[in-house]
Assembly symmetry: C2
Homo-oligomer: 401 residues x 2
């Protein structure tokens, strides 16, 4: 506990934590289970190229996500690129600027021009109302992004895509296990792309997956993923790449799948612990999960209102970093303000007011396997302390900077 503001690490006090607390999930199985899975790989001498563990993983994912095809990849960024190619996109694609860079960069690598769409200030998602005015004849698809364990307005977006006869697909990196009308993300739109990066609830260290109910798209995706090891039809007239998932990655993801119920419950416990500590704090609002839906609770995300909380989101991140609490500013700056897009498409710079506000307010707090309930108590107590001494801290920060 800090006794006075001089004891804050940002003012040269001792940091609250001796080493940095990671912000991501980092859900890894116990060594013994990992060892057992890897002994199997070495015994089989089958290390990559759509091996037995990748096949098992894909079957389990189909089952869990309620979808016909799950195509695992080396990471979600490559998956997004493969998806854009499989859909044969052309012209322009509507996409939020309030997202991780890879969402939009996958379009750029595929030769597609993004049309940035603003987001709803409450859900942080793009909505049918915001998308529709952007749909002219040059648009071949909408790439929507599920955020913070919540799923987009599937019905509304699907209706618009059908009406305009364009593709609709989803960056579902945040939505493994999350539902819309109690249907899990995975079968919505033409396809959905999941991330199994170490920071996510399902974790292959690096990894990704594309899910679809469309047989034709599934074959195209498998063709593009690799010129080897394709099951089913081979389309010779397709550009291939290497997006293969190795057996080692599949082993990690399978262990993580086994633990999904436990880990998502632990995430929920941590999430609710944060809320119980901080819900009454002025200017502090957590992004919650709809009471009738499921979520992986992998992200603990709040909006910080500068006026009411007393200091800004950026200042809060700065102060907490000095304490070895690594919070993230999501997604600051918005992609419309990042190179190369700010230079290539300057007309979006002042067209996304909700995105700009969220980019200045949203903060992600540490959660995941390495964060204890005690850590959350400590972090929350510190955040309350910072709020209570906001004006003194700001005054002194001004002189330090």
């Amino acid at each position: 506990m800090k006794r006075n503001i001089s004891s804050l690490a940002v003012f040269s006090g001792k940091p609250t934590f001796d080493s940095p607390l990671p912000v991501g999930q980092m859900n890894f199985a116990e060594w013994e289970r990992f060892e057992s899975a890897f002994r199997g790989i070495f015994a089989r001498r089958y290390y990559t190229n759509h091996g037995p563990l990748v096949q098992e993983l894909e079957a389990r994912l189909c089952n869990m996500l309620g979808v016909k095809h799950a195509i695992c990849t080396t990471n979600a960024t490559i998956a997004l690129l493969i998806a854009a190619k499989a859909l044969e996109l052309h012209g322009k694609v509507v996409v939020p600027a309030f997202t991780f860079a890879a969402t939009v960069q996958s379009l750029t690598w595929a030769g597609i021009e993004p049309i940035f769409c603003d987001v709803n200030p409450v859900t942080h998602h793009i909505t049918p109302e915001l998308v529709e005015p952007l749909l002219d004849d040059s648009v071949s698809a909408v790439l929507a992004v599920h955020l913070w364990g919540n799923v987009c307005d599937i019905e509304g977006l699907s209706q618009i895509a059908a009406k305009k006869n364009i593709h609709l697909y989803f960056d579902a990196a945040h939505a493994f296990g999350s539902t819309c009308n109690n249907i899990p993300a995975g079968s919505f739109g033409d396809m959905e792309i999941f991330s199994f990066h170490g920071t996510k609830v399902i974790n292959a260290a690096e990894g990704g997956c594309i899910s679809t109910n469309n047989d034709y798209l599934a074959e195209r995706l498998r063709n593009i993923r690799s010129s080897y090891g394709i099951r089913g039809t081979v389309y010779p007239n397709i550009m291939t790449s290497n997006g293969r998932m190795s057996e080692a990655q599949a082993a990690l993801a399978l262990l993580s799948l086994e633990d999904y119920d436990k880990n998502s419950q632990l995430n929920r416990d941590r999430f609710e612990r944060y809320i119980s500590h901080l819900k009454i704090l002025p200017g502090f609002k957590f992004i919650s999960v709809k009471s009738d839906e499921k979520s992986n609770y992998q992200y603990v995300v709040a909006e910080v209102d500068h006026e009411a909380f007393g200091i800004s989101r950026d200042e809060l991140v700065y102060i907490l970093k000095a304490e070895n609490i690594l919070c993230r500013k999501y997604f600051a700056p918005g992609l419309h303000r990042c190179p190369p897009y700010n230079e290539q498409y300057p007309h979006f710079l002042n067209s996304l007011p909700n995105t700009d506000i969220l980019c200045s307010k949203v903060i992600q707090f540490p959660s995941g396997q390495l964060i204890t309930m005690e850590d959350i108590h400590t972090i929350s107590t510190l955040v309350i302390y910072i709020h209570e001494h906001a004006s003194d801290i700001r005054e002194r920060l001004f002189h330090v900077k």
Copy 2:
């Protein structure tokens, strides 16, 4: 031993081997060494994103290849794509059609048009003489490919690239540890791209590496490889992807590097055993290594002359496959005859006579960790038997087909 041609598996005899012999290297360390490396990863809880093992691997590769920068990636296909983007290529690039698909497809993904160059019938490489007539103002680079453990004519290609002021870079998937004038591949041209796929002498199951002496290109490559974990300068104005190598991949590659001397010597022993058995066979010519250079000997590759050997390369591959000996037809068909290139650029169809001949003649034999000297004796004896009974076999094959 086959006693009569009816005992060939292609004619329903019992296959020589009970299960398929792999054609690639498959050099994996003993479980104990692997386990020890992986315990370290779990103890550190650092699984990806330019971790300590990737850093150690890159340092060792720099040392071994005699190059300033080694940038490891999740696979060589993605590395080739990152390389094309880092070089800011435009217009057209001269490249052989006698290569693995990923070489040329990396250009297509990067929006570059290939100009296919024929190869020298002895070395199988593109040469300055073949490249020079193709260099008009639309060409921004030459992407040459080292083949079969031999390195291209570095001096000649470098002179042409310098004269025309264009980039020169190398697909070095076949050339780890191989030399030109006793300098190892790795520091030639603007950059070189290595593969650490399980079929290669250095093996991360999946993996790759880009080597360069150019500081500016190295920083660009690191930027494009990942928007995270960049060391050194960050170029905000660059399109990033995810080409990160995980710690698991780096652990495998480091074990493989430790074993390089042993494994390349074992490859050489296997290579020479094949030659000792088959060198006198009519119509059968192994691609050898220049006596004054080093090689990894990872490929055992021969040309089969239909007339002199008695049956064609395609028929030989077909017969051996039935015996569970999986030889590869390299690189058949040439990429100028594969979609989408045959349709997009039909003017190359009849412009690469040496490539066409090699595509019909070249065969790769099984080598690597899982192939014993006894296996090689068995395979060679069978190849000699097939040659000796060629006309009877052809006659009967004709009826079977």
